[in-house]
Amino acid sequence: MDILPQLIINSIIAGAIYTLIALGFNLIYGATKFFNLAHGVMAAVGGYSVFYFAKTLGLDIYLAAVIGVLITGLVGYGLDRLVYSPLRKRKASNMVLLVASLGAFTAIQAIIAILFTSQFKTLSQGVGTQRIFEVFGGVITQTQIIIILAAILVMVGLVLLLYKTQLGKAVRAISDDEEVARIVGINTNKVISYTFFIGSAIAGLAGILVGFDTGIEPTMGLSLLLKGVIASIVGGIGNIYGGVFGAFLLGFVENFGIWKISGEWKDAIAFALLIIFLIFRPKGIMNK
């Protein structure tokens, strides 16, 4: 059997998941210029919200997904209002914000583990119900197609938001220079809070989709975040297109990297890619 088609599909699925994490991460990074580690745990917030509404309360799965995305956005928004915004007002350095976000990451992860236990849970309703499609000799499930579509839609939506709306202009202005943006009358704190809402909601969506594809656990955020961050750095941190490009590059490199060698090298390859870029092109492929 030729495994090439399946490898390509596997790479695209992984790339789409990383895209969703990288998009939100880059959006927030662009506006705030700090490394928001808490972005990872937002995926778990989304996944567990859906778990709660769909499995515990028995709501319709699509409705639960929408609620999950909104809740994650609100948690991100709340985190900004409660933690980051006061720190920014005090002119805290990016290092302080990074440490604060690490604290938020750990705290939220621990709260989820207390509320839902740390056992691995699946959101999907079992294997038999999942439709499987054959594409050029490879197979892909319905959930995985939805993941890929979601990544594309979110990317298009984000580009439209940034370039066609008033809010998008404000975000881009802040991203260029926060001081100047404030001088010309943009309420930067408010706009940054909105980017936290949107960015976190996207991460929540990623967590929900991963939950349907594989499953959820409180610690799921860290590995997703790491891969999302690699994608962002490789693609060009703070750059929307760069994040997408980096995500798919990472997906292809790590899945094709273990084509001829044993599978345990997967993470080693991913991080080697990161180090190569940090040394030779620290601003990523699509730096501004």
């Binding site: 236990t117 499953g215 590995s223 899945n255 599978g263 345990e264």
Partner: protein, 376 residues
């Protein structure tokens, strides 16, 4: 006085008050009636948490029984539970706390082999006895004089698996998918060696990071190798997506796993994808009394791997401490001599000169309609 000096003084004062408060509480009671403290390390969260929680319930039952029967030397037994998260550095921190702060003379645990390996050195140095109820990696045999386990080494499980697959199932060409952990690597190495000796062929050998949940590419490669059977060594958290992904990719070769698959959560979660999967597991002569105690405690029938071993370990320790006191060296010497019968995990618990359990009986279970039953 500037702001930071005030802060420093404030923090120091609070710390001193705290220390004085706790220290004064300590030695005020007469020593002889103080509870005997032993440490516990297991995966209460993270990978294998289902097993860790189940084990903890059994330990609580056993401790309760010991205390209700008058305790040990008319002192109660108290267990300090620490979470090892099935991860080396976390377990190592937990053990340091138990050894240096709680000053326990014996640690029950860890569960995952990576946990036990990580603190075996520290325990050996500080002369703290360790009795693991679950660690099976072969390397632990050489971990030290103070390190014991009442769970069989994977030397047995790996070769048992190889022989069963080759002789009983007559599968000669197989592929291996394993978690990169002390446990996964340990069994895999023994399995590969034995399977090759028997004359079998290993078509593919694919590892994955223990925390990885996307095994698609490894499975894709295995599928293309077209094996007659896949020997899949994984913990619960990676096995659930792994088994599903195997079916989604159309990998229909039968799956054969290790003792970590003795977790009903896997088979309820993967549904029909798990049908027909097999795994080897240590035979435990569970009696109905133990089963009903567990049911009362946790509200369901689940008894995961290592739970009977942990229960017996507490009983065994109580017996040893009753005899020789809480000096760690005396406990160690007594453990080498002891023989415990009538337990729920094995007909007899005895340790060889490496501190390993003597003898092991394995059985194979097969999944039928979402439930694991003994294979005939």
């Amino acid at each position: 006085m500037n702001q930071s000096t005030k802060w420093i003084i404030g923090v120091v004062v609070v710390a001193i008050i705290g220390v004085v408060y706790f220290v004064s509480k300590g030695p005020s009671q007469p020593v002889s009636t103080e509870p005997i403290k032993i440490g516990f390390i297991g995966p209460l969260t993270g990978d294998a948490a289902n097993i860790g929680q189940n084990v903890r319930a059994a330990v609580e039952i056993a401790v309760n029984e010991v205390n209700q029967a008058g305790g040990v030397d008319s002192r109660t037994l108290e267990v300090i539970y620490e979470d090892g998260q099935c991860t080396g550095n976390v377990a190592s921190n937990a053990a340091n706390k138990l050894i240096n702060i709680d000053k326990v003379s014996l640690i029950l645990g860890g569960a995952c082999s990576g946990e036990t390996s990580s603190f075996a050195g520290a325990a050996e140095q500080s002369k703290t006895a360790v009795l693991s109820y679950c660690s099976s990696a072969p390397a632990i045999s050489q971990a030290g004089d103070y390190i014991f386990r009442n769970y069989p080494s994977d030397l047995y499980q790996g070769s048992f698996g190889a022989e069963y697959v080759y002789n009983k199932l007559s599968k000669k060409k197989i592929a291996i998918l394993y978690a990169k952990s002390d446990w996964g690597n340990g069994i895999k190495n023994v399995f590969v060696k034995r399977f090759n000796e028997l004359g079998g062929t290993i078509l593919a050998e694919e590892g994955y990071e223990q925390t990885s949940r996307d095994l698609r590419t490894q499975l894709t490669k295995i599928k293309s190798a077209n094996p007659e059977l896949v020997y899949f060594l994984g913990y619960t958290e990676a096995s659930i997506p792994g088994i599903k992904q195997a079916k989604e990719l159309g990998l229909n070769a039968p799956l054969f796993g290790g003792d970590a698959w003795d977790d009903s959560k896997i088979w309820t979660d993967v549904g029909s994808a798990g049908e027909g999967a097999m795994y080897s597991v240590v035979y435990a002569p569970l009696n109905s009394d133990f089963k009903s105690k567990m049911r009362t405690k946790i509200g369901n029938d689940e008894i995961t791997i290592c739970t009977p071993q942990a229960y017996d370990a507490v009983k065994l320790i109580a017996k040893v401490i009753e005899k020789v006191g809480i000096n760690a060296e005396a406990i160690k010497n007594e453990l080498y001599k002891t023989s415990y019968t009538g337990g729920v995990s094995a007909s007899e618990i005895k340790f060889d000169s490496n501190g390993d359990l003597v003898g092991a009986n394995y059985i194979v279970k097969v999944v039928r309609n979402g439930e694991a039953v003994e294979a005939k």
